[in-house]
């Protein structure tokens, strides 16, 4: 009988960790701490959970448990794990369809039933129930990237990084100042870079003046801090003004 919360032995854990360390992955794949499971690495991000769940875990578990007898509990748990991973992969795909929604629901139900059989004492969480409803939303709204919270979390990250020196007590003040700074910076990005060519309108009477040749090698350090596309845009704006 497997005990919930204590399935992997220390040896199996170290196998999983060594797999994380030794697997060759593309550079765009989110990296995962190699000492997974130790408190020292702190909380994992959502994307790290996705990577560790859909990439490393199946590889290691199949290697460790794939050759066990069919009636072994661990083999059954492996099957359940793989249904969960399949469900996650289907749900986070870049396209959606009726078939994919059905497939997702099927995998998710297999997973929950598997859990119920293996751990009769297990208390299901509200999240696991809501996961069953996710299938409907795949049909309602299409692929998840239009309605997940990743972009909003990124916005929060930006807000958290805005420097401030306010005391802890003044949170309401803090929040209103954060938002002002943020809106201000966003508007500035929008206006200053997208309308830069308008700033330097060739129609102005000064446009006829030419700059000396040595100034043509002027470096614009501020162009490096904005995104490449808008930087180019801004740069052309400036160049067409100064060097018509």
């Amino acid at each position: 009988m497997l005990k919930q919360g204590a399935v992997l032995t220390p040896d199996e854990m170290s196998e999983l960790r060594s797999d994380i360390e030794h697997m060759y992955t593309p550079s765009w794949l989110t990296s995962v701490p190699t000492n997974l499971g130790e408190p020292s690495h702190g909380k994992l991000k959502a994307d790290q959970w996705r990577t560790v769940g859909t990439t490393y875990l199946p590889v290691s578990l199949i290697r460790l448990w794939g050759r066990l007898e069919d009636d072994d509990q661990r083999k059954k748990l492996l099957a359940a794990t793989l249904s969960l991973i399949s469900a996650v992969i289907v749900a986070s795909s870049w396209t959606a369809s009726q078939e994919k929604a059905d497939l997702y629901l099927h995998h998710m139900q297999t997973y929950l039933n598997g859990l119920r059989e293996l751990f009769p004492q297990y208390r299901f969480l509200p999240n696991q129930h809501m996961a069953l409803h996710l299938a409907e939303y795949l049909r309602f709204y299409g692929p998840v990237h239009s309605w997940w919270t990743f972009p909003f979390e990124r916005l929060i990250g930006m807000l958290q990084r805005i420097p401030n020196n306010f005391q802890d007590g003044e949170f309401h003040l803090h929040s209103s100042l954060i938002i002002m700074t943020f809106i201000f910076s966003r508007a500035a990005r929008r206006n200053s870079f997208y309308h830069l060519h308008e700033v330097c309108q060739p129609s102005s009477s000064y446009a006829k003046r030419r700059l000396p040749a040595s100034d043509q090698e002027l470096q614009w350090p501020f162009l490096q801090i904005c995104r490449p596309s808008s930087a180019q845009h801004a740069y052309h704006g400036y160049c067409s003004f100064f060097f018509p």
Partner: protein, 544 residues
Amino acid sequence: MLPLDHHFKPILENVDPVLQVTFFLVVTCQVLLGVSRRGCSFLLQMVQYVIHLTLLRLGPNLSQGDEKLLSGIPTDPRTTEKAFYLEDKKTIFAVCPNPDCHFNYKPTFHEGSPIPHYPTTCSHREFQGSPKCGTPLIKPRRVNGHIIHAPIKPFVAFSFKHWLGGILARSEFEKTMDKSWMPCKERPAPEMKDIFDGEVLRNFKGLDGQHFSAGGEEGRYVFSLCLDYFNPLGNKQAGKKKSIGLISMVCLNLPPEMRYKPENMFLFGIIPGPNEPPLACFNHYLHILIEELLEFWYSGVRFSRTSTCYYGRVVRCALVCVVSDLLAARKVNGFAAIGHKQMCAICHCTRQQQDGLNDSFASLGERRTGEEIRKSAQLYLDAENEKERKEIVTTTGIRWSELYRLPYFDPSRMVVVDCMHNLFLGLIKEHFEILGIRMDNKKCNETPALSINISMDGMSELNKNERKSVDKLIETLESPLNKELESQDGYDMYLKRLEKLHKQALKLFFESFKLKVNPTYTPINEKNLNKADFVHSILTWVSC
């Protein structure tokens, strides 16, 4: 009609390019590089000085034009901000500081004065006939020798109309947004690539009963709303816990690669901290936004000029989905909390007694409908006192939410289950816990080196804090510490740690195991032992 002409005015028209570049330099430093206002005014003065010195090379006397150029450089960076039209339209509301109220008040202005006025105390009544809240709203502040009454807890709300106007003023944006409805007009493709292929938007009806996109010359746009609470002090496990909320909206008509860029997202406001507003109090903040959305739905808003329509255009907007994690979704949509029996707002699955095999969470229940949820919410709203409300929530699991005022909003379909929180941070994380890969420090329980039992009789004489001390003592002693105690440093560390515990707890432990006083650390007073004596003997007992 909303005037948008300022978006089309060129910035710093007919101004000397030297000034243009100077203004740009300072604005970039201030906004993107985070230079303070003080730093910027220093920068401005230095630029002025550099130009002055350069001009002096041409001769000792400056021409009139050059004098004018030098005087055109401002000393205050706020002047440069203004030149770039960076201010978005906003209103500062006064929020009631009472943590159970959160009602907010719009400022009023006396004729020709920029100073906002707020009511002195909160006059909100939760129920008809119940007493007023009465919490003070404002505090005096001295500005330039005058006393101004500023809100104690301000909430900055940005205007959705003005933001949308800004988006529509940008070249190409409007065209791209109008084009996005194409997939809805074609036959359904088997593969859905974006939200417009989904069922909800394909069947989304406008006010006139036609498909929402069929507005002729009018602009028809759809939005998603997101609410998320976060800790402004960072996400450290051991750090302070404060919570402020972020309400933002995204225009779904923009293609996915554009819609989530921070400059294209609408940030409605940040709910002030330090804690989340309880239960239905969040509605007071949402109210401001819903008022604007209702106007966009019923009459539409006329913009005086957009990038494609020189003579203006009517725009109608709708909110089609609410994206947030499970906990925030409960609050924003008025559903009962997560521990409630009827926690699921999508189906009628009630949490039954803890029976692993029949757990209703592992299967789908009967589907709820939007009308049914609205009816229950109306019941909640009509309730006359707190007790009645509680009963209604217990039976239906639904509270009131301002979102229900939007006539097209279907709470049973438009509140999505967030994939990121639900699958990645929820199910995958939980599965790792089931497998036994623990991330949480506290849950890690190593095998105890020895087990200690203390009789209940002794425990019952202690008070609450002293009992905690006993638990802590046992926890420390049960972990394997033999090796650490061998060195003097390790011994001193544990000595210090245990000396912090209550004396009564140590005494109980000492007596229940019939320990003897350690001969190497002879007590000063044999009859009246102090804390250090107890700790020494306990540590000696453990290490042998």
